[in-house]
Amino acid sequence: MELLAWLLYAYQFLVLYYFAVLNFLYATFALFGLRMVARYARELSELSLKDLLEREAYLPVSILVPTYNEEKTIAASVRSFLALRYPEFEVIVVCDGPRDRTLEVLKEAFRLVRVDWVFKRALPTKPIRGVYRSLTYPNLLVVDKENGGKADALNAGLNFARYPLFCGVDADSLLDPEALLRASRLFLEDERVLAVGGTIRPLNGARVREGIVEELRLPRGFLEKMQIIEYARAFFMGRAGWSAMNALLIISGAFGLFRRSEAIKVGGVPHGHSGGGHGAGGPPPPEGAGRGAGLPGPLYPGPHLLHGGPRRLGHLEAAAEPLAPGPLGGALAPPGHALQPQVRPPGPFGHALLLPL
């Protein structure tokens, strides 16, 4: 009996010790993270974004939207991507062998016509069944392929992408109109940046019309409120703290901007990877985020961005230097022929910094 009491006591001791250490870590992360948020709020100011646009110093972006059985949300999501405030981008929707009417909905909503398309199969994927272009949106391309999972769909999108940066998004997510501008700015400022992520907020409670977020509000339900708090903690304290220490390991699958050539160099997204918050594949989800798929409502990648510098990660040393955006200056970036073994998904490209609205 005494032994049992002692064991229970020791257990309590362990629990206390665990929480003491955890809280100390949270405190440290809060200090680093909030400092980072305050600083990046100034660095990515309205003026710096305006200059980026007016001086045409931006890098064009390919938005990759892997989708599977999303007939109800796909048209609104694609509309929101097409409405982004960015001067040069293309949207590539990859229908990953859907069993519902996803492709038909897209055909009707965007007046798609089938076209012959020559592309470089830089990454192996399941066979492509057809390529469609929109009669109303010249920068929209829809790829229909056999089902292979989100990673396979992203790799297929990468094969079709034309621009030096690509942005992986979930088909049930909405992007802040300035998300791309803010994220892409960091690639311009530092050629070592390989990947930029964003903060994600559940849309529950927000007022959305035609894929545009008109007003952010708190949801009514207790659990949904807690989810928003947990997302905020995960991104503003957890991620921001990690990023301040140059130690961020992942970028959310719901919104991440990468250098295309570097992603192809490491073999694209490894097959079988679970992927971001809601979709069928991609980089691993953030702690506390993404796994909330059970709760209703899409994710809303906010304006807070993550910024990665690869130099501190050994396996990307080789990828950092020669394929900086320079050589192609905003046009086609040739992927390297010598593919490295698949190290990890695009997420671990580098550390990150959290950026606020």
Partner: protein
Amino acid sequence: MWRRGERLYALLVFLVVALEALALGGLVWVFSGRLLGTFDYPMARLHLLRALFLTALALVVLGAYVLVYHAYTALKEARDKALYERYLPAFTEALFSGTKPPPPPWPEPALEALLHLREMLKGEMGEKVARWLRRGRPPWAFPLKSRWASHPERLEALEALGLARLPETLEAILSYLEHWDPVLRRAAARAAARVAQGKGVLHLGEALLKAGLPKGALLEALLLLGDRAEPVVALFLEKGGRGEVWAALEAIGRLHLHGLAERVLPFLEAEDPEVQAAALRALARLGYPPVGYEDVVLGLLRREEEFLRVHAARLLPLLPQNLARRALWEALKDPSFYVRRAAAEALASLDLELLRKAAEAHPDPYGRAMAAQVLREVAWNS
């Protein structure tokens, strides 16, 4: 947007969580003592209650602060908005009717309104706003000189000075190009590029040479200089390292600095392939034929670096037409998808008939397919 009081907020969050960690640490210590028989039960209970009290107190303080913070900032924002809306029409009216502006001292929102006017208006009107800004004695130079200002305050000040475009503030901004923090150095480069006038432009160029900024940031500074960039670009070409030369070549093309086109040509033979690629891009953007360097451009088509072959193919239409046609036909056989693509696009701009022929009869099946694809796109876009 992030608001005032943030440092206190961050500190408070840290203190509260640290206090909780401390309380839990204390409990660990006391419970360990109890386990080893050092503390008796009443002592352990006392410590447990103290820990609970401390945690509750910390949470109450944080909660109260958050509520007060939000109430205060909401109030302040409403007041600032009202002031801004009062001053902006007053300044605009004074500007256009020639009457006197409201007398200083002006509150912060009034200065913000002036900054917005300064950003919008050029020429004489802009200068008038600049004179008013000087009269208003804006406080932005202080955080730059203060030892105690935070990084966000310095960033804010640099941005405001960039908007104000007061040439006399250039020296204060330039000193930040030597700052240890690259974020402040980049912000200073942007602000200085907006502010620099006359001789200040060359000062900025010299400071940028020593700033050790990444080439993207250098390019942005040059683009912000716009029509004032030429002396800085020339300086970079003459004295710059790899990054500066790359940025200068990019800027020549993007800003269409035709006066410097001749100086781009020697860089086609540079040792660094990225500099060579930048030179190719600059010439292509300017539409400047590489006279005397035709063999060099054709030689670049045989280089190992794929991106060099891509840019060389894009420049080929500026070579003598027969030479260009032959070279582009050959480039359609290139093993690289991207070089074939560039060659087909270049052929489309040079000779659409030859592209049609390539789509039907080019000996390389991949070249044929690429020519057909580009032909379809031309038809689609037209």
